[in-house]
Structures are given as structure tokens and as C-alpha cells.
Symmetry: C2
DNA sequence: GGGTAGTACTACGTCTTGTAGAGAGGTGAG
DNA sequence: CTCACCTCTCTACAAGACGTAGTACTACCC
């Protein structure tokens, strides 16, 4: 799936945070801290949609962009991808399980047991 | 932590598979399929150790390289890193739990319950 | 002492990412 | 109508990562 650059991720974060599709201009306004040229934002949005992270729909002349998948889905997919990289998935999973902190272990446990019940 | 390139990963795979520290020459011999110049292998090994993925010790004039961490540890770290990227770790974890296949869910479950017992 | 192996340093092409300008075409204000 | 402006698309460029490798120097074996 490939990772995102820093600016790309900032922009994805904005789009993930807002729940409505935004135009390039709106995204640009939300970045503030960095003083980016409007075309910079447009370029990055364009690249992101080309890479499949965003979908876009017309709104007059402008495009409105929105994430193709939720951040959770993206994160989960990254995790699975990391997992695919190992020859010994079980060992990696075990190690991962041991590494997550207590409260998160419980979340995981809960999700897993709910799965079993279904 | 940053990811690895394709050749870098092939080489890490070799070093993870063999359990002994290898010299550049030995690694090169194990790649076969690609017809790489010896210096290519050396360069990549050098970069990998510079990035902290490998440690090396002298053996005569040659260096012997070995992974700084196990593959499992690397994979688990990648997974945790992905997890850190989200604002809502719980949601991502839940989604992840639902995404792992049955047998793997059991591995996870087992590791987690063992944790609790300790 | 010449071939061989090994090192360090340097290099170059390609791809990705951050960053942005140029030019085209529509649109509202006056 | 005309001008200023918005937004788009296209193109560009610098920096860094990676794959790939040559060169030059050293040390060892026979």
C-alpha cells in the first residue's frame, strides 16, 4: 500500500478529522501553520487521490475530496501489511500481543472474544 | 523507524533466516537470483547497519553482519508504529482484531490471556 | 609479488515527496 | 463587456532514498 509523506499525512489527518468532503481551498485554510501555496495543496490532494487514498467529486469547478477509507481501516491495513512481511506470523503476533499496553490488550481481547461469539 | 527498500528487505530476510552473522560475500552468494556486484551487496549492508538494522563485527578484514533485532520484533514494531498513527487506537485495534483470520485470532488470544495470567 | 578479497568512498539514475509557478477557462462585479 | 479572481491541469525542480556499481587502496595467500 505504501506509506505517506509528512505533508500527505497532515492532509489526510485533516480530511479524516472533518467528516465532510473538502475542497483544496478549505484544506489549505485548515493547515494554517504551514504557509503553503494553494497549488501545493492541490497537488498533494491530487496525488493522494491518484494513489487511492482519496476520492473526489465535482462541486462546481472545484473538487471535493474525502478519504477513501477510514483512518482505522488504513491503520489496520498497515498493521496487516507489516504482519505479512514476516515468515512466522504467529511469532510476530505473539510479540505484538506482549507489546501492547494493558488497556489496549483488553480492547484487543474484547474484540477477539466478541468475534468468537459470533 | 522507516521502511526498507526491496533489496534491503531481501538482504534482511537472508540475515534473519541464517542465524549466524554473515559477511557481504556470503550474503551475495545467497542472493543468486539477482546478479549483483559484490560492492552492491556491501553498500546495502553498510546502509542497513548505518540505519541500525544490522550490527557488524570484525572478522579479519571482513565485517560480519547480523540483524540488530529479530524479524518478529521488527514486525511488531512496525505494527505498533502504524497504531501510533491513529488518534483512536482502540478503534484501530478493534478493526485489526476483526481483520485477522481465525487461527491467528487464536494465537493473539492465547498470547493475551497468557499475559493476563502472569 | 601478483591475484584475490575486502574496505571505504564516490557516483549516478530513478522514484517519491514537498513545494510551487504558468497557463487555461469559467464567473462575478462594476 | 471587461477585468480580477478562482480553480484546474501541467510542468518543474530540489532533496532524499534506493538500487546499482566503479575505483582506489590495503592486506593476505601461495
Amino acid at each position: 500500500m505504501k506509506g505517506l509523506g509528512e505533508l500527505e499525512r497532515s492532509i489526510m489527518d485533516i480530511l479524516w478529522a472533518e467528516n465532510v468532503p473538502l475542497t483544496a481551498r478549505e484544506v489549505g485554510r485548515l493547515i494554517e501553520d504551514r504557509d503553503l501555496a494553494p497549488t501545493t495543496v492541490m497537488t498533494v490532494l491530487d496525488r493522494l487521490s491518484r494513489k487511492g487514498f482519496l476520492t473526489r467529486t465535482r462541486d462546481g469547478r472545484a473538487w471535493r475530496y474525502q478519504p477513501a477509507a477510514s483512518r482505522d481501516a488504513y491503520v489496520a491495513e498497515l498493521m496487516l501489511e507489516a504482519l505479512d512481511m514476516t515468515g512466522d506470523r504467529d511469532a510476530a503476533l505473539t510479540r505484538f500481543a506482549r507489546a501492547v499496553s494493558g488497556s489496549e490488550a483488553e480492547i484487543l481481547l474484547k474484540a477477539l472474544t466478541e468475534l468468537e461469539e459470533e
